[in-house]
Structures are given as C-alpha cells and as structure tokens.
C-alpha cells in the first residue's frame, strides 16, 4: 500500500507537449508511473516520444484511457481552468505543479471541486517509491519503505528524503503539499490517509513558518496517532518576520504561524522537532526504538 498513488494509478499530464510537461512526463515514465496519455488543446491526435496519445480535452483522455489522476503543468492563468476541466471529466486526483496561481483561483477551485483530491498548487507532486511518481521530484533519491513524508517545500523535501534514504529509512509515500497560502490538501488530510495505510509505520513532517497547518497537524497527531513515531522539522527559524504574516492574516490564526508556536505545538503532541534536517534520521531512529 501507499497513499494517494500506486503503480496501477492511471495518470495523464495536462500540458504534456510544453517544455516542462514533456520533460517531466519522460521522467515519470522512466520511473515506472502508469502514464497513459496527455492533453494539449490543439495537439490532439499526436503522440509523445514514448508513443503516448495526446488529446485535445481531458474528457477525451479519460474516455480513451480510463485515467483517474492528472498532473498539471500549465501557466498560472490557465491552472484553475485545467483543474475545473479535470473535475468535470471525472478525474479524482489532481496534482497542480504550477507556481503563481492567483490565490482567488485556488480558493474557488478548492471550494467547488468537491470530491476531487488536489495536491498543490505550487508543489513538487508526490511519489510512492518503487511504484509511481506524479510531479517533478528526482526519483533516484527515494527508496521504498515505511516512512510517510509530507512537506510544504519542494527542495527541502528532497533534502530530507535524501538523508532518510542514506540512513536506510525508505518511504511509503512522500507528498509535497505545496507552498501557497491556500492548498488543496493539508498536512491533516495527509495524516488521515497515512493513518489508514498499513505500509506506513512512521512519519516525517516538514513544515515552515506561516499559517497554522503545523499546529493543526500536531493536534491531529496527539488525538489520532498517539502511537505513531513522528518527527517534525520547522524551516525558517532565522527568517525575518514575513510581510504576509502581518495584520489580518495574523489575526485569523491568532498567535499561530511563528516558529515558536509550531515547535511548541509539536512538543506538546510528543513530536520531537529536529533543529536541522540532518538530525531527522537520528530522532526517527530514537522514536522507533522507544516504540519497539
């Protein structure tokens, strides 16, 4: 098992003939993802260098291939449209890689596409190592195993996974939830899935300053996953107070959002917080030893 994605998931790429779309489609195929086709309006009928069919619309792609998953590589002005098109075509799982999607577009999409799981936007996607990769993660640093990983950052996720793999901790699924203020899937929603995944036996959560996802995740762990070995990291302890943290945004989340608030929330939930990414494998080993 794994969450959200396995080797049978039928995946299409929206924007498959663009520079980034075709480059990463190639990498997904090479990783073993069950990529069944792609969509670029106006290029229907063509085939990719792998012989995958290109369709004009998501609906045609779904009808012809039975796709359930999509990976979106379209420019920011068209991302919401791509997500709505996927939703209307019956796609149930969408990864939106695009960075710079207007926050109101995301607000409307997540508020209306009920029943479609969205990862991102502004995210590196996800990977169930040894099974499938949907997104832009560098597959070779991952290794199949039991640690579920979730992160708000792209490159920091790779950093952490690389360390885990080097220390022998393989991963069940790694989800880059995305760095935007509004995202389709939060840490808590990932935790709900990991909770029911028999492959996942430990968790690593990489948060950062801003928002309250880390505090919410800590509360969920305390209530629903008290037995699960979990290690957290909070990036940005030396960051200047972000401009976006100010004013009404800070009011909504009360005192949440600061590194101190997040670290305190994890500690209250019994989750050790690593001072640096390279401490994560050691802390995880300690947690697993305590449990054993």
């Amino acid at each position: 098992m794994s969450i959200f994605l396995d080797k049978n998931s039928r995946v299409i790429v929206q924007g498959i003939t663009g520079a980034e779309g075709s480059y990463h489609a190639d990498r997904m195929v090479k990783y073993g993802t069950n990529l069944v086709g792609g969509v670029t309006p106006g290029k229907g009928g063509q085939t990719t260098p792998h012989g995958l069919p290109v369709f004009d619309t998501v609906k045609e792609a779904v009808e012809a291939t039975g796709a359930t998953h999509t990976c979106i590589f379209v420019p920011p002005p068209f991302a919401a449209d791509a997500l709505y098109e996927a939703y209307e075509a019956g796609i149930t799982f969408a990864v939106c890689i695009t960075e710079g999607v207007p926050v109101h577009d995301t607000l409307k999409v997540v508020g209306t596409t009920i029943g479609m799981r969205i990862i991102g936007p502004n995210c590196p996607g996800l990977i169930s190592p040894g099974k499938a990769l949907v997104g832009i993660m560098p597959g070779h640093i991952f290794k199949e195993g039991r640690v579920g990983v979730m992160s708000r950052s792209g490159t920091l996720t790779y950093e952490v996974v690389d360390l885990l793999t080097r220390e022998g901790f393989g991963q069940s699924t790694c989800v880059g939830v995305g760095g935007d203020p509004i995202i389709g899937t939060t840490f808590v929603e990932c935790l709900r899935e990991f909770k029911n995944d028999p492959q996942t036996g430990a968790l690593v959560l990489c948060g950062e300053i801003g928002g309250s996802d880390e505090e919410d995740a800590a509360a969920f762990i305390a209530e629903h996953l008290p037995e699960m070995p979990v290690v957290a990291f909070v990036g940005g302890r030396n960051a200047p107070p972000g401009k976006s943290l100010g004013h009404a945004g800070a009011i909504i989340s009360g005192n949440f959002g600061t590194p101190q608030s997040k670290i305190a929330a994890f500690q209250a939930a019994g989750v050790p917080v690593a001072d640096r990414p390279s401490d994560i494998p050691r802390l995880l080993a300690e947690r697993l030893a305590v449990r054993a």
């Binding site: 990463h24 560098p138 920091l156 990489c206 009011i251 640096r276």
Partner: protein
C-alpha cells in the same frame, strides 16, 4: 502589492463604497488651490504604505488655502520616520486632501483569506480607528468573523448577521450589508488578499463612510488587471526588493542581513533551511536568496552578482537540490558567472545534488571547482572560510 490609501479608495468608489470627498495632490500649491476652490474644513494626509501617520504628524487639518499649503509643506518636508517594521522609513511623495468628517462612531470591517478554512473571511468589530492587532488585545470579544462559502458567495444575510453579532451601532445597520457586499465583490474582482476599512465611520448626520482604505492585491493576479502596472510604478519598493527585481527574481526572494556568509538556494524552504544551517554552524548570514524553480544559467549569474555586489558576503554558499531545477544548468551558470563577471571574486562553496547532478558536477570539476556533499558540510565550510577571511 499593497496599495496607497488613495488607490484603495479609487477601488472603493468603483465598488460603490462611500469615501470622503477629496483630491489627490502632489504639491502644496495643488493642495492650496483645491481648498481655495472648495472652501471648508479639510484633512491633509500623507500617502504612504507605513502605518502610524497620525502619531508621526503626517495627518493635519486645514481650514483655508494658506493653512493647506503650510501643512502640506510640513508633511512633505520630512519622510515618515522609521519604525520596527520599516527600519528605513518611507519617503512621502503625495497627499490626499479630504473632507473632515464629523464622526460619531468608528467600526472595523475587512475581508481576508482564512488559510485554515480555505475561504474568504469577514472580520468585523465595533471598535475601529486603531490597529486590529490592538483591538484583538484590548477587546478580543468584539471581533466577529464569518467565512464565506465561495460556491455561494456573498449574500446580504451575512452582513446582517455580522452587524448584529458585532453589535454595530444601529446607525450602521441599514447600510452595512451593502457595504460588506461591495467589499466582497471588490475582493474578488481585483484579486485582493486583504481589503480593510478602518475606520468605517458613522457620521453624525447618519452616513457610513470608509474613512481609510487598506488593500493588498495578490501579485499573482495582477495580470488580470493590466492598469495596476501603472499603480505599481508609484509604490515604494525597498532596496532589497528593487535589487531582487533588477536581478530578475521575485521581490520577496531576496533579503539582506548584516553577516558575511552569502547564501543562495533553490526554493524558499531550502533557502530558509540553508540560512538555518549557516546559523547552526556558528556563522552570520549575509542574505536570504531563493533563486526560484527552473533557474537557468543567466538567472544564476544574476544572483551571484546580486549577492557579491550588494551584501557583506566574503564567501558564497550555493545550495542546490535539483527537482525542476537542473544541476547542469546551475553548474553552467556558476561557471559562466565566475568567468564573465566583472564583480569581485569571493570563495564559493557549492552543494549540488538532485536532477542531473552528475553532469553538473562534471561541469564544475572541469572548471576546477569542487562541490561539497551535504548542506551541513557546505555550511560548515562556508563558515570556516568566512572566519578565515576575517583573519
């Protein structure tokens, strides 16, 4: 992008929210002429993004043209003084002349984005005219919130419910639902992250008027309203933001600090972790720099020059973990930067791994550079070199 008060009020007017009668002016003469032609009691307000104008003496009353000229001169004579959030202060380039309102009550109304609920949220308080942070400390019970379902949008019952829950003065009640609706429309129409009326004034003759306007627009949505490019041009960028824009990275991707270890990483999360790593290794950070995703050789070169020419960096730690950013491109950028730049040369510590790392390392090796293996190793090496440079 934060708007000036006069710009925010222009959007309020378009949305049908009443604002004080007034004129945007650039010179004391323009202020004087306006008051001459429109006799009465006027308020002259500095147009800046910083808060605290009243306390800084940058809002003054004028009863006639001569006084208008005089207070305008006084306001324009000196910039806004620095405060904790704005250590550089802010120059004052223009003024807003507005009718002096006879205010009976002041309330607060805003629409913002609730990250956790993933919805727009109304925030209303019967206490206005002070920072909402201060209201939340002194009268936390007075703050009422209402998250809006985007599939439904605004409906007047929301305004009515908020007016009752926040115990707004009865004088507000009839007009408030329409104002709240207009504010919500404006929020979506222009892609705002925050629209705030503080204070929302109730005048003694029963009018409800937006006495101030704070609007923060989503930079990612500016393409939907091309006119904002001109509005943006008059806004002050601080020095870091200006430098970032010149280097072709996002204005929030670069920030300077007093230390001597320059840093650059791809992705904000890794860039923050890189700064943390330098601190953990006992070093002082010279800057935060996120080179962005998919960075090409040209951008990397710009970033190198951005750091060596504008910070106190004596050593430069480049930390790249490639996903969408390809290691070979970064390596080419670094090599080109070092070959072609006329900027001063400082020691580089390069950590390069992830997508196309072998090719990237080969390019660096050919140019006589040796990448380090891990972030901690790179941070320690950079801190060691910086200490050496200090002698």
């Amino acid at each position: 992008m934060n708007l000036m008060e006069y710009q925010g009020k222009e959007l309020f007017k378009r949305a049908g929210i009443a604002v004080p009668r007034g004129e945007h002016a650039f010179t004391p003469d323009a202020v004087g002429t306006f008051i001459e032609e429109n006799p009465g009691e006027w308020v002259v307000k500095a147009q800046v993004l910083m808060g605290g104008r009243g306390k800084a003496g940058k809002i003054k009353m004028a009863s006639d043209a001569a006084q208008g000229r005089r207070v305008a001169e006084e306001i324009l004579a000196t910039p806004m003084p620095p405060n904790r959030q704005n250590p550089q202060g802010e120059p004052i380039k223009s003024l807003l002349v507005e009718e002096k309102l006879d205010i009976a009550k002041e309330a607060y109304c805003a629409v913002a984005i609730d990250r956790a609920a993933r919805k727009p949220v109304f925030i209303v308080s019967r206490y206005g005219g002070m920072d909402i942070e201060e209201v939340s400390e002194r009268h936390p019970e007075s703050i009422e919130k209402f998250p809006v379902d985007t599939a439904i949008g605004y409906s007047p019952f929301i305004g009515r419910a908020l007016a009752f829950a926040a115990q707004l003065d009865p004088g507000y009640r009839k007009q408030f639902p329409a104002i709240a609706g207009a504010l919500y429309e404006l929020f979506f129409r222009y892609g705002a992250k925050l629209v705030e009326i503080n204070p929302l004034a109730l005048t003694s003759d029963g009018r409800v008027i937006a006495s101030d306007a704070k609007v923060e627009l989503d930079d990612d949505a500016l393409f939907k309203n091309p006119e904002f490019a001109q509005w943006h041009a008059v806004l002050p960028l601080d020095e870091d933001e200006t430098l970032a824009a010149q280097a072709g990275v996002g204005i929030r991707n670069f920030r300077r600090f007093p230390g001597d270890v320059g840093t650059m990483a791809n992705g904000a999360g890794l860039a923050m972790a890189t700064m943390d790593a330098v601190s953990n290794a006992g070093g002082q950070i010279a800057n935060f720099l996120d080179v962005g995703g998919g960075a090409n050789a040209q951008r990397v070169r710009n970033c190198y020059e951005l750091v060596v020419n504008n910070t106190g960096a004596t050593v430069f730690f480049i930390n790249i973990f490639g996903g969408i950013t390809r290691g070979d491109e970064v390596a080419r950028g670094v090599v080109e930067a070092m070959r072609e730049t006329r900027s001063r040369k400082i020691p580089l510590v390069i950590r390069l791994t992830g997508t196309n790392e072998e090719e990237g390392r080969r390019i660096l090796a050919q140019a006589g550079m040796t990448p380090v293996e891990t972030m901690d190793e790179g941070a320690s090496e950079a801190v060691r070199l910086a200490a050496e440079m200090r002698g």
